[in-house]
Symmetry: C2
Subunit: 367 residues, 2 copies
C-alpha cells in the first residue's frame, strides 16, 4: 500500500476493485456480494442495520461481552429497540435462549438477531451454525446479522452455508491490514429487506454501492491504498491455503497459548472449551494483581502490547492476541514476554508455561 | 531509505553526507576520518590494504576462522605475502604469537598485522587491545588493520584508544542496514602510509575520497539511499545510548543464548569464555548429526535462518546470530525455533534451554 494513489475513476482502479470484490468472497465463504466501505467495523455494523431494518424495529442481542454491548448501543442510537439476553461474559450465545425469545415473539416483532461471532473482549467464539439452526426451528423470519470482525480468516466461517443474512467485518484482524475497511457480506434475504428499509441513509446505502461495484467503482472516494493491501492480503491467504490452512494455523497457535496459560497455573477466562477463540485468549489474573501495572511493565520491559480487560472484565483479565500474520516463533516471543512479565510483576504463577506451549507446537509439527 | 533518490551533487545531499561522516565516528570511537565506500565489507578490506601497503609487502595474519582466511586470500590476490599464524578456530588471536612473529622480524619486513576482531564464522572475539599492547612491546612499526565488520556496534570497540590504524567494517551487522556500505576508519599513521603507497588504485583511493568528503561529496556516485538509512541507524543507536547501552544489550542477549545452549547440553564452539562473541554463537552439534538437514528443517518449519558452519567447521557447527535490531522477545522466538528444531530433527539434547535463557533475561531485567 506504500505506493502512489491511483485515479479511482480510471481503468486500473476498476480492475483492482473487481478483483478485490470477487476474491474477498472466498474469505466469507459466499457467492453473494461483499460490500467494502471506507470505514471501521463499527461503520459496517451500522450499514448492516440501516440497510435491513426500519426505525423502531425490535432486535435481539446477546450480552456475550463488550463488543455485543457496543453493537447494541449503536442500534439503540439509531432508534432500534434492543432486547438483550443477559450473560456472564464467560459463555457464548445460548441458542436455546435465542429460540425461546423468538418462539415467544409470536407477532414477529423481532426483525433481526445480532450475534457477535468472536468476542474479542473475552476470547469466546459463539456457534453461529447452532444459532441459525435454533432460529430455523422456530420458523421465525428474523434476519441473522453476525459480527465476524475478529473471527474472519482466523476461525471457520461460512456466511452462505450457515444462512447468515449479513456478515460484518473489518480489515485489521485476520486480513492483516491496517484499520480502514469495513465489510458487509450480504445474502438474498438481506438484499430483499434492503428494498423496503426506511432508514435515512446515504454513505451506507447498499443499492448505490452495488450499482457502482458492478463496473469496479465506488459511489464515493474509496480507500484506494487499502485496496492494494487487500489484494496482497488475499493473495497471501490463498498462498497459505484458504480455507483450512489459515484456520488450522490459528487454532494451533491458540491451543499452544492456552497450554501456556494452564502451565502458568492461571485461568482461561472462557468457561467452555468448545467456545475457545482462535484469535484471542483472555487470562484471569489472580485476585489482587494490578492488571494495568502488569501490562505496563510488559510493554515497558519487552515492547509487547497485551490487550486490556474491557468493560465488565476491566482490571480482571488481560488478553493475548494470536491472529493475523503470526507464526510459531512470534507466539514463542509473545509467551516469553508474558512469562517474564508475570515473574517481574510478582504475579503468583508457575514457571515454564512457555515450555508446555513449545511441547505442543513441536508435537504438532511432526507430521 | 524507501524514498526518492536525491541529487548527490546538491546541497541537501551535502548536509546528509556531512552529518553521516561526522556521526559515524562515535560508533568507531574515533575523532579521525571514517571513509564510506559504496561496497561490501570485502571492498573495505581491499581499500585498507591498497591505501597503506605496497605490492609484495609482507603482512601477518591469524587463522582464527573463515573470515581471517578470506581476508588473507584477498591480500594474496593483491600480491601481498601473507604470514599466517595457524589456529584451531576455537580461540582468538594469541597476542604472544603476534609478538613472537614481530620480534623475529628484525628487518621490519612485516608491514601490517591483519586482525579479525569478531570471527562471525566461529563466534569468537579477539582482544584487540592486548594485541596492540603486544605489538607495542616489540617496537615493531607494522600497521594494525582490524576487521570489525560483525563487532561494530555490538561489542566494545575503540579505534582511537586502542591505536588501530585502519578499522574495516560494513553496514549489514550492528548498524542494522542492508549490505552496501563499506567503512574505513583511519588513523594518522595509516594516512601517513597512504602517501607513499604504490598500489595502483582508483575506486578505493582515500585521498580523493577525503578531499571530496570535506565538502560533503563523494568522488563518484555514492549509495545515496543507504546514507538515508545510515542517518536513521545512527539516530537509533544514539537514542538507545551509544556507547554502552548498545554493547550491554548485545552482551546480555549473547549470554542468554549461551545459557540456552548449555541448557540443551550442547557445546559452545568457542573454547575460551573470555572470547565469547556478542554477535554470534556457534554451537557444536553432536557427532553424527546432519547439520545442513537440521538447519533446513528449522528454516522449513519455523522460517528461522540459522547460520551454516563455514570452511573448516562446515557440517560441525551451526550459528545463532543475535545482533543488530534485536531484543529479548526476538531472541526468545529464535531460541524456541532452535529448541523445537533440535527435537524435530532428533538431535540428542536436553529440553528447556530456552527456560534457562528466560531465567537469565528475567533476572537481569529486575533492575
Amino acid at each position: 500500500m506504500d505506493r502512489p494513489t491511483i485515479d479511482h475513476r480510471g481503468p486500473e482502479f476498476a480492475a483492482l476493485a473487481k478483483e478485490c470484490l470477487e476474491d474477498i468472497k472466498a474469505v466469507f465463504q459466499t457467492e453473494h456480494p461483499v460490500l467494502i466501505f471506507p470505514s471501521s467495523g463499527t461503520g459496517a455494523w451500522e450499514a448492516a442495520l440501516v440497510n435491513t431494518l426500519n426505525p423502531g424495529d425490535r432486535v435481539l442481542a446477546f450480552e456475550t461481552g463488550q463488543f455485543a454491548i457496543l453493537w447494541a448501543k449503536l442500534a439503540e442510537n439509531l432508534g432500534l429497540k434492543v432486547d438483550m439476553v443477559p450473560g456472564d461474559w464467560r459463555h457464548g450465545i445460548d441458542p436455546a435462549a435465542a429460540a425461546a425469545k423468538l418462539s415467544a415473539d409470536s407477532g414477529h416483532e423481532i426483525k433481526a438477531v445480532l450475534a457477535v461471532h468472536n468476542e474479542t473482549s473475552t476470547g469466546i467464539t459463539s456457534d453461529i451454525e447452532d444459532l441459525r439452526a435454533a432460529m430455523d426451528n422456530t420458523d421465525h423470519p428474523a434476519l441473522l446479522l453476525v459480527d465476524a470482525v475478529s473471527s474472519l480468516a482466523t476461525a471457520a466461517y461460512r456466511h452462505q452455508k450457515w444462512g447468515v443474512d449479513v456478515t460484518v467485518s473489518g480489515s485489521q484482524k485476520g486480513l492483516m491490514l491496517p484499520p480502514g475497511l469495513g465489510f458487509n457480506a450480504v445474502g438474498p434475504k438481506a438484499l430483499e429487506a434492503a428494498k423496503t428499509s426506511t432508514f435515512p441513509k446515504g454513505y451506507w446505502r447498499w443499492d448505490d454501492m452495488l450499482a457502482f461495484n458492478e463496473k469496479g467503482f465506488f459511489p464515493y472516494t474509496p480507500a484506494t491504498n487499502l485496496l492494494y493491501a487487500l489484494k496482497e492480503s488475499l493473495a497471501m491467504l490463498r498462498e497459505e491455503g484458504l480455507y483450512w490452512n489459515v484456520v488450522d494455523r490459528h487454532a494451533r497457535l491458540a491451543e499452544a497459548t492456552r497450554r501456556a496459560v494452564l502451565g502458568w497455573g492461571l485461568e482461561i477466562w472462557a468457561a467452555n472449551p468448545g467456545e475457545y477463540s482462535n484469535s484471542t485468549t483472555a487470562v484471569l489474573l489472580p485476585e489482587g494483581v494490578n492488571e494495568a501495572a502488569f501490562r505496563t511493565l510488559v510493554l515497558d520491559k519487552f515492547n509487547l502490547s497485551l490487550g486490556a480487560g474491557l468493560g465488565k472484565v476491566a482490571g480482571k483479565v488481560f488478553r493475548i492476541g494470536h491472529l493475523g500474520d503470526f507464526n510459531d516463533l512470534m507466539l514463542a516471543g509473545t509467551l516469553a514476554g508474558v512469562e517474564m512479565g508475570l515473574e517481574l510483576a510478582g504475579v503468583p504463577h508457575r514457571k515454564g508455561g512457555i515450555c508446555a506451549a513449545l511441547d505442543y507446537l513441536t508435537e504438532t509439527r511432526k507430521q
